[in-house]
Amino acid sequence: MYGKGLRTLSVATLITLIGAFALVFFWTPNEADQGFVQKIFYLHVPMAIVALCGFVVGGIFAIQHLRTREPIWDLRSYVAIHIAIILAVGTLITGSIWARAAWGHWWLWDEPTLVSFLIVFLLYATYTPMRFAIEDRERQARYASVFAIVAGAFVPLNFAAVRASQENTHPRVLNTTGGALPGDMRLTFLIAIVGMTLLFITLYRFELSTKQTRSHISSLKRKLSGDDDLPVLRRSAAPTL
């Protein structure tokens, strides 16, 4: 009912990701400067891009929630941000591993790209506790939407500020010259981005349908037990429909 088309999406995601990783290891040449370690790039960068886009998408859904007041948009915003946080954790860990291999350090505190991404991550790390702290469901949804919009607007601003920075150790990937990636590397990178985007959409749809089904079951339970007029009293960070 809620998970329509999820199987096809999952298969497409799996095929694209396996294809991308096969290209990474069996087709794309090693980078001249970094050698084999640069293979982390095809995982780390798409994950970072999709995570940041996920935060922005969460903000867009939150705008829809404030416009329509429909709880489904709050749920969509919550799920998009949740999946983006998971990908952001992956980005930080893989980035740290790459930094250790390429630069000899797990983390560089004077590097704007790394620190700005950490700030964005920490900002969104407060989203779920903030929701949990508000008991009233309507107020929770409203405040969470305002948070998602403001934080979502901060993401591109932060990105632009980092791009403007001159003090960069971290390489630039997306620029007007295509990131100086040769054709085969660029193709692999684009397929990896498509795969990661599909993974985001699959996990998003999976979690959304699970939450919708759970809400449906809870509502049926309340109806069958005869207390369907009673409000949901259990405190939770997740929205209810």
Binding site: N30, Q34, G35, V37, T94, W98, R100, L203
Partner: protein, 75 residues
């Protein structure tokens, strides 16, 4: 790409392989962990559905005790 800091040369394959494997393993571990948590939630929903199933026959029994049903019994 800009030059690497600290003039670090490319790591040999046996050294670099560890880091590349670690990064990809972290990714797979995150996805598998997520799927495992979602699987646990799905099994909890299955239990809830079983509870709902148990409630439905109860209501059917209750329906049998309604005035309409009792009229049917008298007839």
């Amino acid at each position: 790409m800009p030059a690497l800091p600290f003039g670090a040369p490319a790591l040999p394959l046996d050294e670099a392989g560890k880091y590349v494997a670690a990064a990809y393993l972290v990714f797979f571990a995150i996805v598998i962990l997520y799927v495992a948590i979602m699987a646990a939630r799905v099994s909890r929903m299955e239990r809830d559905l079983a509870e709902l199933d148990a409630l439905v026959p109860d209501r059917e029994d209750d329906d049998a005790d309604t005035p309409a049903a009792r009229v049917g019994v008298v007839e």
